[in-house]
Symmetry: C2
Subunit: 364 residues, 2 copies
């Protein structure tokens, strides 16, 4: 724990960081309010120009009939699945074993909604068409997360998505998109958000991943679905009297960064290449499919941390603020490209990676 | 509906308003950030100085061991009741028929937590000691709302509170305080928040009623209870990556207004007196017990709206933005005193009430 905090502290003190948009400090909110008219009325329990205007804008961007702003994706997705389960009368949904609902939500779906999960595919690979075809359980909904964050942000072929979507429609299974990082995958697929969302019955997107907002989510779908989700939003305690601090900042960062996703994607591929040229390092996926990937290292976590501490200090380049153990001999960390990568001088970065490789070769 | 909106519009255009702190516009947030250091780290999933510091401060103010910040009271209270029900193994709680959980939350408590409610007392009066004594159902928790908002903010005697608290402890029933307006009742009881909270096992307070913040709530209790509530907060989708926009503003308005509650209370009693001296008008309670009361009028809603429209225009004084029908012959509205009342010139206010009384006498 002490070493983990030392790495975080050292990372914060580096001059250049390969990941993210910079510190998530209060300035993030202040910046987003600089050009905002203070005389605008607050939203009030889901009504008002600020929330309705933003919902309409994102619904259009996603090509969906309607949309509603939620304080969190956790809330939005549980509610989406609950609505589909209630509609079909079967309290069962299918998703990946490393789905956010399965591993990060303290079993909210099960304890609040009594919905069972059917885990498709192995932990370390994507859900494929065959997994859905061969699923023998009757479920109300299949959730796909694009990209699959916990395995480095992998994506299926677009044709696989299309065939899974067609199969679900045929089988009477609703298809829900966990699009926490949907904006980030558009360059890889070379599709619009609306084209991808058209394959799904309901979609959740987040405003604080690649966009770098403060918090908040949109759930989109047809009008009947969205109207029902608003009732559940109140039940969950998500229908706050005012959500505008999140909405105004989401709107600001949406416009600031929505057209930078191609740049982040190109940079992620470049950076992954630099990692892959080092001894004992491989990225997952080898070629990133969005702005993110995982870096796997064939060295004990403690050795990597010690090595990074030295690297950060001697080069001023920060690679990650935390490393996670896989086993005694290996560890990994997540990389998400944001605004910071582009401002690092190429020679400084090259020097850091050369040094990293020399050190890794000596250790390995 | 059109007339309702006309009243709201006319109210907004009045020079002086007897209720509230002023427009709930975006400036409310901007003002609260004026002196904030933008370089402070964001809270991250419930951790960090901003959230932990505020929780500690409010826990101390309430005299409780621990506290946690929630995006909404709806979420905080359902969770409090769920924990007490799970602990006792009985999914049943008792509260007033006009409890927020019963009438404003789309049955979240029932649909998400499978908790049944036992309604104590009649709709138009407070829960008394005898109601609890004679309750034959076995419940895990009794919720008391102080003041009882939907009946004009009435309060039981302090001795009644003490005896209900003692009885609940004797009967093994947890006592939860819906303290959405707890700060507002301290002048009436002449007690500290900690003295009142000491009678309860768990307490919820709100930051956007009398304090005039943007949104958000605190749930307080002993450490084991609070730790459990944090798990449920995540399940509900309330453990946002960052809650600081609400926390910073809650903190700002807490300090700005916590010592104004006595003033609001005195002013509420003065204003209620002015209403009660008019024909066909009575306040509930006759003498307010906090900064709020209800104004009942023995006239059809439409007549009152027409009369108010004229009054607002000719005097520049706004009394309410909406009137609610009781039956064909009567209606009511809610009054909550905030910063605005104190800045109205006495003679302007007197003139408006004189005119109101003349008009009411003519109508009645």
């Amino acid at each position: 724990m002490a070493k983990q905090n030392r790495l975080l502290d050292a990372f914060k003190q580096t001059k250049y960081q390969v990941i993210g948009h910079g510190s998530r400090n209060v300035q993030t909110l202040i910046d987003s309010l600089q050009t905002v008219d203070g005389q605008q009325d607050s939203d009030v329990y889901g009504k008002g120009a600020i929330i309705e205007g933003f919902q309409t804008k994102i619904a259009q961007f996603l090509g969906k009939e309607d949309a509603v702003f939620f304080p969190s994706g956790t809330m939005a997705q549980q509610i989406a699945l609950r609505i589909w389960c209630d509609q079909k009368g079967i309290g069962k949904v299918a998703y990946h074993p490393l789905c956010h609902l399965e591993i990060h939500e303290e079993d909210g779906l099960k304890t609040l909604h009594s919905i069972e999960s059917v885990l498709l595919a192995d932990r370390d690979r994507l859900i494929e068409f065959e997994d859905v075809l061969e699923m023998d359980e009757d479920v109300s909904c299949l959730l796909l997360e694009l990209p699959q964050r916990e395995i480095g942000g992998q994506l299926p072929d677009y044709e696989t998505l299309e065939s899974i979507s067609a199969l679900c429609r045929e089988k009477g299974i609703k298809l829900h998109l966990d699009g926490a990082r949907l904006f980030e995958i558009l360059p890889h697929y070379q599709k619009t958000a609306a084209e991808i969302c058209d394959l799904f019955d309901s979609v959740y997107v987040s405003f604080y991943k690649g966009l770098g907002g403060i918090a908040g989510a949109i759930l989109a779908g047809d009008t009947a679905f969205i109207q029902e989700s608003i009732v559940w939003k109140r039940r969950h305690g998500g229908d706050l009297i005012s959500l505008y601090p999140y909405i105004l900042s989401a709107d600001y960062y949406f416009h600031l960064r929505i057209n930078k996703m191609e740049q982040y994607y190109v940079e992620a591929k470049e950076l992954a290449g630099m990692f892959n040229r080092c001894h004992a390092v491989s990225t997952k996926p080898v070629i990133p499919m969005s702005n993110m990937f995982h870096v796997h290292m064939e060295l004990p976590k403690e050795k990597v941390e010690a090595l990074f501490l030295e690297l950060y200090e001697s080069t001023g380049i920060g690679l990650t603020s935390s490393v996670r153990e896989i086993d005694d001999q290996s560890c990994y960390f997540e990389v998400s490209i944001g605004d910071q990568y582009g401002s690092i001088p190429k020679e400084t970065l090259d020097r850091a990676f050369n040094l990293l490789d020399v050190r890794l070769a000596a250790e390995h």
